[in-house]
Symmetry: C2
Subunit: 236 residues, 2 copies
Amino acid sequence: MITYSEQTRVLVAVDCIIFGFDGEQLKILLIKRGFQPAKDQWSLMGGFVGADENLYGAAERILYQLTGLKDLYLEQLKAYGSPERDPIERTISVAYFALIDINKYKTQISDRYHAEWFLINDAPSLIFDHDIMVEEAKKRIRYKAALHPILFELLPKKFTIPQLQNLYEQVYNTKIDNRNFIRKVNSTDLLIKLSEKDKSSSKRGAFYYTLDKNKYKAKFQSFLNFIPNPEHLISM
Amino acid sequence: MITYSEQTRVLVAVDCIIFGFDGEQLKILLIKRGFQPAKDQWSLMGGFVGADENLYGAAERILYQLTGLKDLYLEQLKAYGSPERDPIERTISVAYFALIDINKYKTQISDRYHAEWFLINDAPSLIFDHDIMVEEAKKRIRYKAALHPILFELLPKKFTIPQLQNLYEQVYNTKIDNRNFIRKVNSTDLLIKLSEKDKSSSKRGAFYYTLDKNKYKAKFQSFLNFIPNPEHLISM
DNA sequence: AAAAATAAACGTTAATTAGACGTTTATTAT
DNA sequence: ATAATAAACGTCTAATTAACGTTTATTTTT
């Protein structure tokens, strides 16, 4: 019988970088740890991979435990495995990032985790290498969103073009020309215009739109261009 | 003292998808396993992560053990963690892909590994989930090479534009218009023209070029466009 | 020694796209 | 009524792209 008897086994965890948008601000969901190690410090939501779980499944479970939500946009970012990253015991962490519409999120699913949304530019510093994970996740999202329509995953069912533009402006930390932006968005043909208007943020009101799910899926891999010169904006 | 006593530990390995180019053909380096499990079958080169190694370091070591080469282009692809992926015992594998100039490679560094280069489209099927890793690595390279000059990592110090074009044609499995290709390559300003010509593949001969390392590093993150409509070619 | 063959390298053009910027419109507040 | 304002639509120029044509350097053939 063959075994790998010589080898050391290590812990494997999944950590989730959870981005959310409430229609106005881009945020990240962090937990104040009610447990050891690093009790009372802020960290990403995470957990060990169960014996019968694959990595994606573990990420889904962890996300569900915190948010009560399923079928979220969830993508593997990277595996982190520096030997000293967890001071208690060597742990490999596979980081996933998730994009969610904050309105779908109901607060305080479990009181094992005290979770809080933070503005993306005003979050506390985190344990272990979690700050690095967040930075790399931000870069990944900026990179990917420059080419593919992932940011729609952050928006509610119906949303306005100014809201969408605001989201892009926050992700890239830049001002976008609204006349060109509207034109580009419309030219993708991904949106369906509704008759209803959102009057909350202007006198004239802005029409609501909804994502055409089929076209979204079909065109997801195509290269978009909502952001001029994205390469200059990705790594900031 | 805090411990993670409840948790199961698992094996963590690194597997390398090694792409090479000999000036004419795009290849992948595989090993015929001289050891258990799956002895005598083809697989990617891999190994367990050592107690004091980080993941990237383990990948470098594994690559060095097989090829004798250091400082190669090496990038994490993804972590694979399906519970049944290794039938002997649960093992998380972190896959890395490497790009190397085959001319640098000296055969048979160690006889623990019988390694062989295979044409990218004519490789044997591999153990475990290694075929999936190779497919995903190919996609990743097609995606990345459409935007960034990574394919230069596969070329020798001096190379001709027809060679470069041939490499792109193999990666994307498509014919490229040579007049547009030359112009695009020149417009990047990444290459330095040498006075010497390669006469081996045409009567007229093609000038050798060499990569301007500084410009390469500086412009690596910019978006290139050597390939028209890459999105149609990435996932084939 | 001239002619043919051929890949390499350079050039042209038309269509499309991108980005800068101007104008109109619907609505509310004054 | 008028002013104010964000939303939405429009225009123009420059840059980029891709399709396609031409010349050139060299070797092989005659």
